[in-house]
């Protein structure tokens, strides 16, 4: 009898462990980003190419598009840029967000390196970036025609990532 009593602690632990395993497999915080599955946040920011124009979230809907956060201060964005141009040439709709940057160098960048973007949003203070949970540049979001965010990718977008993570979502 006392022998069996000694198994009570291990039995209790087994129950707890069962719940822990469940909790881990059923983790609601598993979403890679808080904005995935939600519509774009509301914003109104100026256009880098023409400061008199305002861009809002409603201007980005209508087709599958990429929203690419970049900045002239960001070295990795240099590396990413040629691939974005390539994608744009294939007809992929890309909107740029010039993140925590200044207008003059941003314009120079687009003139010198080429412009893959349909429009470029000027997010000098990073407010749109904050709303979308951006932690750095480059970061790229995939948005569906209704303006719902489908995917978020942190880091340099290249062919491998594009084919593995973005294309399957668009083709679905």
């Amino acid at each position: 009898m006392t022998r069996l009593v000694r198994f009570i602690p291990v039995a209790i632990f087994a129950c707890i462990a069962g719940f822990l395993v469940f909790g881990l497999s059923n983790d609601p915080t598993h979403l890679p980003s808080a904005v995935v599955g939600k519509p774009l946040p509301e914003f109104q920011l100026i256009d880098v190419e023409d400061e008199s124009l305002l861009i809002s979230q409603d201007d980005l809907v209508g087709s599958y598009s990429l929203i690419n956060f970049w900045g002239t201060w960001c070295q990795a964005c240099h590396v990413e840029h040629p691939f974005l141009l390539e994608l744009a040439a294939q007809g992929v709709v890309i909107y740029g967000v010039d993140y925590k940057d200044q207008l003059a160098p941003a314009k120079r960048w687009l003139n010198e390196l080429g412009n893959p973007y349909q429009r470029v949003i000027f997010d000098a203070r990073g407010s749109l970036g904050f709303d979308m949970g951006v932690t750095g540049a480059p970061e790229t979001f995939l948005v569906d025609p209704n303006g719902v965010v489908l995917h978020r990718y942190q880091g340099v977008l290249d062919r491998a990532v594009w084919e593995a993570q973005f294309l399957p979502l668009i083709n679905q």
Binding site: F13, A17, F19, F22, N26, G136, V156
Partner: protein
């Protein structure tokens, strides 16, 4: 470069901990004392290597090496140097590394001290600790290395340390808590070694006692400072939130308290043997469970700074192997020859048993409350969150019972106590407490609950204090009192101080959310608040709105500065509450929102006897420390006498 050194030494420490687990055990198997002694050396080696590794991470922070991902994510060139250093343990990867390093400090202490421990037993302790160290280092190198590089595109600037963690309390709170968390591993290793040896004496309990006490000291200090940090930094004047992370530290503490009491019965009377072993295993298991809950994100909490399911899976495996394995060993090998010693209801044994039962029941209620959202979710009862109400209603009454055993126990003898002797002794402090409670309650104008709080608090304090009074000898006075008795007195009195602090702040705090303009006084009770001016105040890495508040209280005038900070790198807003700490009350001012005409919404609070919560925690820790080291000096004394 620093990061590579850090990673290399971490891997070397991984190897050293394998040796630590292996060689002493091999020595036991081959009955080779020199192999067993290797444990001391490998323990020191693990410590040295991990120290280098932590130092390397610190160097990477100081050098602003943002090519290291962990540094880039948690530091910034604008961050003051001391926060750069504290960022080492400010987030997941670094904090686990730091935790293992602290475990290695315990290893070092064990290799230097513990000379009275039998060689073969110590070898087993080292082997068990080697396995624990191994598991934790594996966790770091496989799932959460702080030394990962962001190459080839290193950012020019880091993204700053979580502003919540930029506070003095945060500099010292986690290290102390980790020392306590990890310290439970030492008592655990002792218990496991005793199971492995199938010991049927109480020597192991004697050896384990000081280690368990010191672990409890650090847990107490860590929890106390943690609650102080929450109070000073989170900005709404609470000091305990029954948050899963707080519970994760409270549970090992409760069990550790039970353990040190049970150990003392074990040592003195030779009973409660398997119970003590079980407590030692449980304390460590709950520490591991706490780490799991904090790190896996299974239960979300305001404290969860870093969560990741993959890491959770890894810790879960450690948890299953270590806890499952040790409890299973316990089931098979716990001492079966229960020693039968009779004791009455009015005996110290019985009261310590009660204390243990209460503490374990509280631990269970806290555990169930903490895991309840998970259990409910698993059984499809919907998403539930368990609030402070549950804990206050369920755990607090049992806690009150536990508290009541504290003043009684020291008056009781082992085996049994003459009830008339007990009453004649305890009546004096109780009567004194009653008179004082009536005086204080009347002059403070409290409700009957206030009187009750003061009575129970004072009863514990005075009853504890009267123990050395009664047991002093005629010739030598208080000098004859052993350090362990002083330790118990302080620890129990600390509990009483805590009772007053917790009770009075809960019952008598006044909180007011008001609109304040410059120069307009607002009064709470006898305390009057006037904002002198609102202005801008910039720090090294933040910009703040600040308010100078003049607090008038009878004849005394205090000037406080409350701030609302916006951290530049992350844009996070933090409330820096201004607190005027006092012996009998705290005045607390926090800035809310700015209103249309330049006025601010402010939160003003007067919290009577707030400090007593932390004074009490400090006394408990001090008392336990005295007991831990008093035991050593007593052993020396007896040795001298013996010679």
């Amino acid at each position: 470069m620093a990061a590579e050194i850090g990673l290399l030494t971490l891997w070397l420490a991984f190897g050293a901990s394998i040796s630590l687990a292996l060689f002493p055990a091999l020595g036991v198997k081959l009955q080779n004392p020199s192999l067993m002694l290797l444990g001391n050396w490998f323990a020191a080696l693990v410590f040295a290597l991990l120290s280098l590794s932590v130092a390397a991470l610190g160097a990477a922070f100081l050098a602003d090496d943002f090519s290291v991902a962990y540094v880039a994510n948690h530091s910034n060139t604008l961050l003051p140097w001391y926060y750069k250093l504290t960022a080492v343990w400010g987030s997941h990867e670094g904090s686990i590394l730091f935790q293992v390093w602290i475990l290695s400090c315990w290893l070092l202490a064990l290799s230097l001290g513990g000379r009275s421990i039998e060689l073969a037993f110590k070898a087993k302790v080292f082997s068990v600790l080697g396995l624990v160290t191994l598991a934790l280092i594996a966790f770091i190198v496989f799932t959460s290395s702080p030394f990962e590089r962001l190459l080839p595109f290193a950012p020019n600037e880091g993204s700053d340390l979580n502003p919540l963690l930029q506070d003095f309390g945060m500099i010292i709170h986690p290290p102390l808590l980790y020392v306590g968390y990890v310290g439970t591993a030492v008592a655990f290793a002792f218990a496991m070694a005793s199971l492995i040896e199938r010991r049927d004496d109480d020597k192991w309990a004697q050896w384990a006692q000081p280690w368990a006490l010191v672990g409890m000291v650090f847990l107490s200090v860590g929890i106390t400072i943690g609650s102080w940090w929450a109070y000073a930094e989170l900005g709404w004047g609470g000091w305990w939130f029954w948050d899963p992370v707080e519970n994760a530290s409270l549970m090992p503490w409760l069990v550790s308290v039970a353990l040190v009491h049970s150990l003392s019965v074990n040592v003195q009377r030779g009973i409660f043997r398997s119970w003590t072993v079980l407590l030692a295993i449980s304390a460590f298991s709950l520490s591991l469970l706490g780490t799991f809950l904090v790190r896996s994100g299974v239960i979300t909490s305001v404290h969860a700074f870093a969560t990741d399911p993959e890491r959770g899976m890894f810790i879960l495996w450690i948890l299953l192997l270590v806890v499952g394995g040790s409890l299973f060993t316990f089931a098979l090998r716990a001492p079966t020859q229960a020693v039968q010693r009779k004791y009455g209801l009015l005996s110290r044994e019985f009261f310590l048993l009660l204390n243990n039962l209460f503490l374990v029941v509280i631990t269970f209620t806290v555990l169930i409350g903490t895991l309840w959202p998970l259990i409910a979710d698993a059984l499809n009862w919907g998403k539930i969150s368990v609030g402070a109400q549950y804990f206050n209603w369920v755990a607090l009454p049992i806690f009150a019972l536990t508290v009541l055993t504290a003043p009684m126990a020291p008056f009781l003898n082992w085996k049994k106590t003459q009830s008339n002797r007990l009453t004649s002794r305890i009546i004096v402090p109780l009567a004194l407490a009653l008179v004082l409670a009536l005086v204080i309650g009347f002059s403070g104008g409290y409700h009957w609950q206030g009187y009750l709080v003061w009575f129970s608090g004072l009863a514990i304090i005075l009853a504890s204090a009267s123990v050395p009074w009664y047991s002093r000898s005629k010739q030598r006075g208080f000098k004859s009192i052993r350090a362990t008795v002083w330790g118990m007195t302080f620890a129990h009195a600390g509990l009483g101080v805590c009772v007053v602090g917790v009770g009075m702040t809960s019952l008598e705090s006044v909180e007011r959310d008001v609109r304040m303009g410059a120069g307009e006084p607002v009064a709470i009770g006898d305390v009057s608040f006037t904002v002198e001016r609102f202005y801008r105040l910039d720090g090294p890495n933040y910009a703040a709105e600040a308010a100078d508040v003049i607090v008038n209280e009878g004849s005394s005038v205090t000037r406080l500065t409350a701030e609302k900070r916006r951290y530049l790198a992350s844009g996070q807003i933090m409330t820096e509450a201004a607190v005027d700490a006092g012996f009998t009350r705290d005045v607390y001012v926090a800035m809310g929102e700015q209103l249309d005409n330049g006025d601010w919404a402010m939160r003003l609070q007067v919290k009577p006897f707030m400090r007593w919560v932390w004074y009490g925690g400090g006394l408990v820790a001090f008392g336990a420390l005295l007991s831990a080291f008093g035991r050593r000096s007593r052993r020396r004394e007896t040795m001298e006498v013996g010679e």
